[in-house]
Amino acid sequence: MADARHNKSYLLDPRFQLKWTGYLVVVVVFVMAGLGFVIARTAGHASDTASLAVKQAEKAYEESKSNNILTRRTMQLAGGDNPALQMVMDESLNEVDAQSEKNLADVRSRQADIAAGRRNLQNLLIGAGVALVVLLALMGILITHRIVGPVHKMKRLLRRVSTGRLVIEDRLRKGDELEDLFDTFLQMTYSLRAMQIARLATLDTTLRRAEATETPDDVLDGMRALRAQLVLGLEPRRSTTNPPPST
C-alpha cells in the first residue's frame, strides 16, 4: 500500500525537491529579469528615437508649409502678371506639400510600428518568462524526482536492513540515478546475508550435535534462541498463531 502511494507521487520529498526547484527557478528568473531589462531599455531607446524623428518630421513639415505660403505670397507680389509661371510654381509647391505630408505620415507609421513592436516584445517576454518558469518548475520536480526516488527507496531499504532483514528484492526504476550507490548497498546486503547464513549453518550443526548428546536444556534453549534471532533476517517469519513455548 505504501509503495503504491509513493509511486503515484512525484513529490516524494517536497522539502528537498521544492527547495532545489525553487533555487533553479529563482536563478533563471533573475537572469531573465536582467536580460528583460536590457531588452526593454533598448526597445525604449528605439521608441524614443522614433518619437524624436516624428517631432522632427512634424517640425520640418510645418516649416515646409510656412515656406510654401511665403513663396506663394512672394510669387503673387513679384510675378502677378505671369499666370503661367505662377501655375508652375503652385504645382511645384503643392508637390512639395504632398511630399512633406507623405514623409510625415511615413514617419508616424514607423513610430506606430515601433510602439506595436515594443508592446509585442514585452508581451512575448512576459509570456515566455512565465512559460519558462512553469516549464522549469516541472522539469525541476521531474529531475529531482530521479534523484529523490532512489534515495527514498534506499532509505526504506536501509530501515529494513536495520531491522535485520537482509533479503532485498527491490530494484531501482529504469532511468533512476544513483545506480552505483544502490548496487553497493545490494552488495553489502549480499555479504551480510552470506555471513549470516554461514553463522546459521555453524549454529545448526552445533545444535544438532548438542541435541544428540546430553546437553542441558538451558544450553539448548539458548542456542535455539540464538538461532531464532539469526534466522529472522533470512526468511519470512512463521505464523504468529503458534504460541511460543511456555516457560
Partner: protein
C-alpha cells in the same frame, strides 16, 4: 484488553511482514518504553520477555532477554532515544501500522506500574514522529486504560499468549 493487545501484535507482525520488515522494531519499541524512567524493573523485564518470546517464537531464558534488552539499550544510547523513536515511527508509518504499534507500546507501559509521565513522553514522541494527532493518541490511551483495570499482570499475560489471537487466513 485481550482483543486490543493480541490484535495489535498480530496486526504489527502482519504489517511488518507485508512491508518487508522484521518485527524487531517491536523489541525496540518495548525497550524504549520500559527504559523511559531509566530503570528496567522485574515486571518490565517479564513483559519484554513475553513480547520477545512471542516475536521470536521460541523460549527465552532471562539471561537471553537481558542480552536482548542490553543490546537494544546500547543501540538507543548510541543512536539517541529521539532518533530511535523517529526510526520506529517511520517504520510504523511505512507499514501503515502506527496505531497497532502505539497500542503495543501503551500495553507495555501499563503492564508494569501504570502509565508514568516518562513513558507518556516517549509514546507522545513516537506518535508525533508518526504524525498521529494528539486527540487520536488520547483516544488510544483511554482505550488501553479502560481495559487495564488496574491489573497490569493480566496485560502481561495477554502479551505472552498466542491462544487468544484471531487465526490469520492464508497463513500456515
Amino acid at each position: 484488553m485481550i482483543e486490543i493487545v493480541a490484535a495489535a501484535i498480530d496486526q504489527l507482525c502482519v504489517a511488518f511482514e507485508r512491508g518487508g520488515y522484521n518485527p524487531t522494531p517491536i523489541i525496540d519499541l518495548g525497550v524504549l518504553v520500559v527504559i523511559a524512567d531509566g530503570v528496567v524493573d522485574d515486571k518490565e523485564r517479564a513483559v519484554l520477555r513475553d513480547v520477545f518470546q512471542t516475536l521470536l517464537e521460541t523460549k527465552l531464558t532471562p539471561e537471553v532477554v537481558d542480552h536482548l534488552v542490553t543490546a537494544s539499550v546500547q543501540v538507543v544510547e548510541a543512536a539517541g532515544a529521539e532518533s530511535r523513536a523517529r526510526l520506529i515511527a517511520e517504520i510504523l508509518r511505512d507499514c501503515d501500522a502506527v496505531e497497532p504499534g502505539i497500542l503495543v507500546a501503551l500495553a507495555v507501559a501499563y503492564a508494569s506500574d501504570g502509565f508514568s509521565k516518562e513513558e507518556r513522553v516517549v509514546i507522545e514522541r513516537i506518535a508525533d514522529f508518526a504524525e498521529v494527532p494528539r486527540g487520536r493518541l488520547e483516544e488510544l490511551i483511554a482505550r488501553v486504560r479502560a481495559r487495564a483495570d488496574g491489573d497490569p499482570m493480566s496485560i502481561r499475560t495477554l502479551l505472552s499468549t498466542g491462544a487468544h489471537r484471531p487465526v490469520r487466513v492464508g497463513k500456515s
